[in-house]
Symmetry: C2
Subunit: 355 residues, 2 copies
């Protein structure tokens, strides 16, 4: 059977001051009246019924996310005692799925990205699952639209097959975030796609990769899996998890895995990596402005406004204005990523009041 696993434990700072330590991007209503997590759940229907959607998250967020998706059974929320990056999180989901279904196919998804063409997205998952059911690892690659240096890239190999109308390539390797010149080359050669962080694999295939490549983590995962359903499950999880080293799927598993495939897709994907990126995916008015709340605009273009108040603007171009109960951010759209630096500065100064 096919299961979706939404990785929803992350926290980020790029949408500060709206996103905070206890209120990460996936929990925010950035697009319409649904949170990013709710969009991530919504777009799985009708491919996955709610009982086949699992969520990996932390203890604090679990309460919030359960409330946001009451249709998902409580037992499908898998709580990490602490964040250990993506590989251990995926492994934890795998041991849960294997207990339920030894032939489970696991579709690993992100909770805080946006996808415009959800039908095409589901169709791609269907095709990827067919390939994964035979034991391969399939990643969803995004056709690059810019020489972006914020993403990892996957090189397309020469071998390819067509499944359900999708061209599926052998992977010729995962590339770290490139420099500008390399990113430009990747964009132009047509042989590279963005690594979206979405993977499809059989849970048992994933476990065998752990066994070969990350044997210490494999032992931990096995202990946790063996204890599931016993009175010791909680204690074993906490004790074993403390031994786990942080490692990402890309570095820890993908670099040396065999039979890795890529489906390049064009689904209107965005990681909403900044306020500027959010503006790109929202419907703007005739002047290119987007406002969540009443706006009184004079000679203003390309500006994103988020406030409960009336916001009056005069003579602005491509600005971001984000008003929260205790912090107001104003910056040019193309410098919105620098909020990260503001957050780091506050962290360095021990000023946690606004984090």
């Amino acid at each position: 059977m096919l299961y979706a696993v939404i990785m929803a434990g992350g926290s980020g700072t790029r949408l500060w001051p709206l996103s905070r330590r206890n209120q990460p991007k996936q929990a925010l209503k950035l697009i319409g009246d649904r949170t990013m997590f709710q969009h991530a759940v919504d777009r799985l229907s009708p491919l996955f019924s709610p009982d086949r959607i699992c969520v990996v998250t932390n203890d604090e967020l679990a309460t919030v996310l359960k409330r946001q998706a009451p249709e998902i059974p409580d037992g499908n929320f898998i709580v990490e005692p602490a964040g250990r990056d993506s590989a251990p999180a995926a492994g934890l989901a795998a041991v849960h799925l294997l207990r339920r279904d030894p032939s489970a196919i696991m579709v690993m998804l992100t909770a805080d990205h946006f996808i415009v063409d959800t039908a095409q997205f589901r169709a791609a998952l269907g095709a990827a699952s067919e390939v994964a059911s035979e034991g391969a690892i399939v990643t969803l690659g995004i056709h690059p639209t810019a020489p972006d240096t914020r993403f990892g890239y996957i090189s397309l190999g020469t071998g390819q097959q067509i499944v359900d109308g999708f061209r599926i390539y052998e992977s010729a390797g995962f590339r770290e975030k490139p420099d500008q010149a390399t990113a430009q080359k990747f964009l132009e050669d047509g042989r590279h796609v963005w690594n979206s962080g979405m993977f499809v694999w059989r849970a048992d295939r994933l476990m065998s990769e752990f066994e070969q490549q990350l044997p210490e983590t494999y032992e931990v995962l096995r202990s946790i899996g063996d204890a599931l359903g016993t009175p010791d499950a909680g204690r074993v999880l906490v004790d074993e998890w403390a031994k786990v080293k942080r490692v990402s799927i890309d570095y820890g598993l993908m670099e040396h895995a065999g039979r890795v495939y890529v489906i390049p897709i064009d689904i209107g994907w965005s990681d909403i990596g900044s306020w500027g990126a959010l503006l790109d995916v929202l419907d703007a008015d005739a002047d290119g402005n987007v406002s969540r709340g009443p706006l009184l605009a004079r000679d203003t273009r390309g500006t994103y406004v988020r406030s409960d108040k009336l916001v009056a603007v005069i003579g602005l171009s491509d600005m971001v204005i984000v008003d929260t109960p205790d912090v107001l951010l104003v910056c040019p759209r193309d410098r919105a990523e620098e909020v990260r630096d503001l957050v780091r500065k506050m962290e360095a100064e021990g000023n946690s009041a606004y984090l």
Copy 2:
């Protein structure tokens, strides 16, 4: 005796959204922890004791201003039943003063302007009073620092005298707000000063100007003055005031008055005519920024911030950010005067919620 009369009835829209119909500029803390009205009172000390400071205002504002200047006796607040521009307001003050002191010299001042050099200001008032005590009208003129088209100008005549070290000129005429070319000429020829709206005259001289130039208003003022101190005073004021036509001192009295003099002064005067103008008179930090409240600034210069929240800014130059409980304004400093147009638009649309 010398009396100060602070004209505090006006309302303006240029400092919206902080200034509102029921909260005009003079009632706001724009500079330091005192309101503009409080600054106007403070700077009169020690030249005027509080009992010789009168305030002309409207019913609604009187309560607010009395609270702001409890040292001024209640009876010194003169309430206009309705705004009728500056000439009738000055006349109303004059009849009050004449009842108290038939030889009163009246120093007419504004409630919402800022003056840096208050010692020089008081010295100029002293010199002007000496000339006014002999029956002349003396106006305080401001040395122009720019070809400003927002002000009326006064042409300096050839006759001049020196009093207390101040050079006092005959007026060669009041000029309406000029066009840009004329304002530039006025700036360069050194023969013109800004009309500050501050005048010194004997109250009886003012009344005789009303008698000659605005006889209908003179009759009204006489009736009101005759009723002062009687049980009918309130009723007479309301009934008579309804007959008064709107007219300014400049148009109604100054254009045809004789023996008008000007003292050009350099006292660091500003009418605080916009948020941009306010920024000019405030002490800025090393980057030219001024913030009332916590500011987290990155690569930002020449920016005014007013908010109770933490305001985070990145990459701004010469911007104005004014955050109030129900409205947030963001605009470039040199376009801040356009808030007037926003206010007019809301008025035209019958949208009074934010006015």
